[in-house]
Amino acid sequence: MTTVDTLAAGWQPTRAAAPFTRLVWSELRWIFRRPRTLVVLGVLGAIPVIIGLSVHLSGSTDGGPPNGEAPLFVTFASSALALPVGTLSVTLMFLLPLTVAMVGADAIAGEQSHGTLRGWLLAPVTRGRLLTVKALGVAVAALVAVTLMTSTGVVTGFVLGGTDGLFTLSGTSLTVVEALGRIGITISWVAVQLFAVGAVALAISTFTEHPMVVVAGILAGDILFGVLLMLSAVDWLHPFLLTVSWSALPDVLRDPIPTGTLTEGALRAGCYMLIGLSIAYARLTAKDG
């Protein structure tokens, strides 16, 4: 360790900060090195394959459909367009928000519980920067989860149904390029919804040092919103609930896409992000380290 100039010699420390990209890389490496993250991603990636295979096999073993519904569902499950979208709309109800909640929980509450949050503050990394790094980490994790799931869904669909079965719910058929465009829209839209969940998870994360509280909070909110959406007595409340537009995801399978509900949903998610990150910032800057 080298001797540094003395304070007495009029030494003045200057502002210093670690490069932002280095912090982000370090954070991403940490997220994707965590066994838990890898297990969850593995499960998410396997879901479209399992759904596709099981529906395809159950539909084709007895040689013919027992009733009228099966062929449509089998076609659906074997389509490179419908399978990923269908899987995403099913998992968007619980599994995907849960994944994002988990990452958001570890981001701040988890670090707090291991005593590692203090390390960031002592380095020092300013609290605003810390939140930015954490939010980026959660966003990347959400994007990776959605993209991975969609990719395995598309691949499974192509393998099972080939490139021909790309029918929309409106009965028209799409080219592969058009279908991939729809897939792109789906990924972005679901990711934006998950960013909103992530922002709320980060906000809860700043209030506790128990990651479980964050996951439970997100799950409870998800269920509560679901219940409220079923009660017509509180329909004035419905426009404020993040999950209200989630059931509109299959709209991307229509031709042309009815954009109303989807756009509204994206804007609503934007509001949730803004509010969630603001609360997280306010709490993080006021918090004792």
Partner: protein, 354 residues
């Protein structure tokens, strides 16, 4: 008691080398450069006063031991010095910068191990340190790997660097925390209970590292509730008790605050006292020998006199007040002062209760 004395004597030679600031260190009128300075600090957590009206100085180049029983406010003080917590009242300066507002100026030059080591169990020691290193402002990106390797080497963890942190012993965890504080050349290193969980060899290692830091001009602030540890490693001491400073200054000043005396172990105690009194040196019998007052004479003169009178001397040593004694005296005085405040309350209570 005697064990403490031995420590104290062993440490004396070490302390002798330091000295540029050992004379005038104290909250009042310190003229030398300070790496940390606190004035009128007060911290209240939800109505509970953790620290109250604390003035504290960390002189540059010093190893300041912060001493106090558990719950005396040591960690709160450290957290305020490092800007982790905003004081309810008072000012903190770290490396001349107001905290916590100028944290991004001061903290890059400060290494800290606060409230135990904090790391992720699923990463190895090295990966954990790489993560810490990524956030260090003064480390160039290309140098992080080398810095981590060097820090691991320094705390003796190279062999276990690639094992998961989950499997580390308490001592290894503590060492890794220490390595995190030493990743970058620092001006000040703050160690909160650094020897917690360490075996005697580990404790010696920590002392060695503190010694190295001091020799290279780095100031160190160590908190501890282990008195012997502070006596052995520090040049300066701050004693905290129930959230206030009851004493601070150089260790020598604190230890020498009693009257100087020489303890002579001898089988001929009676003869010795007689001989010294004939030479007008005040002396009295003490267990195992005599205690000689050194106010007016030198140890060498005393020994010479005794030898001249044919007194057999087993050992002669300067009497030092152990830090334990000083500490007991300080904290007991505090308790005694508080006692009168308590009594009137009781009286009032009794009057009210019927």
């Amino acid at each position: 008691m005697s064990a403490i004395d031995i420590h104290a004597r062993g440490a004396t030679s070490n302390r002798g080398e330091v000295a540029p600031t050992s004379g005038g260190a104290g909250a009042d009128g310190a003229t030398s450069a300070l790496v940390a300075r606190a004035r009128g600090l007060r911290k209240v957590y939800r109505g509970a006063v953790a620290v109250d009206s604390v003035d504290m100085d960390v002189p540059e180049g010093a190893v300041l031991g912060m001493l106090g029983p558990n719950g005396s406010g040591k960690t709160t003080m450290i957290r305020m010095l490092l800007g982790l917590v905003r004081p309810t009242e008072g000012d903190v300066e770290l490396l001349g910068q107001p905290m916590p507002d100028a944290a991004s100026r001061a903290l890059p030059h400060v290494g800290a191990l606060v409230e135990g080591p904090g790391f992720h169990p699923f990463l190895s020691g090295r990966e954990n340190l790489l993560r810490v290193a990524a956030a260090e402002p003064l480390l160039p990106t290309t140098g992080t790997r080398d810095a981590v390797g060097a820090a691991l080497e320094r705390v003796g963890l190279s062999g276990a660097a690639d094992r998961k942190y989950r499997g580390y012993s308490l001592g290894m965890k503590q060492r890794l925390g220490l390595a995190g504080a030493l990743l970058v050349p620092r001006k000040l290193v703050v160690l909160d209970e650094p020897t917690n969980g360490l075996d005697p060899a580990g404790t010696r290692e920590v002392r060695r590292i503190i010694g190295e830091l001091r020799e290279s001009g780095v100031s160190v602030l160590v908190s501890s509730h282990l008195l012997a540890e502070v006596e052995a490693t520090c040049t300066h001491v701050v004693v905290l008790h129930e959230g206030t400073v009851v004493a601070q200054g150089s260790l020598d000043t604190l230890l020498d605050s009693g009257s100087p005396a020489l303890l002579v172990s001898t089988p001929d105690a009676e003869t010795a006292v007689e001989a010294l009194r004939q030479n007008r040196t005040p002396a009295r019998l003490a267990p195992g020998g005599v205690r000689v007052d050194l106010t007016a004479t030198e140890p060498s003169t005393v020994v010479e006199t005794l030898v001249r009178y044919g007194v057999a001397i087993d050992e002669a040593r300067r009497e030092r007040t152990g830090l334990e004694d000083v500490f007991a005296r300080l904290t007991q005085a505090e308790a005694a002062e508080q006692a009168p405040d308590v009594e009137p309350d009781h009286v009032v209570m009794r009057e009210v209760s019927p």
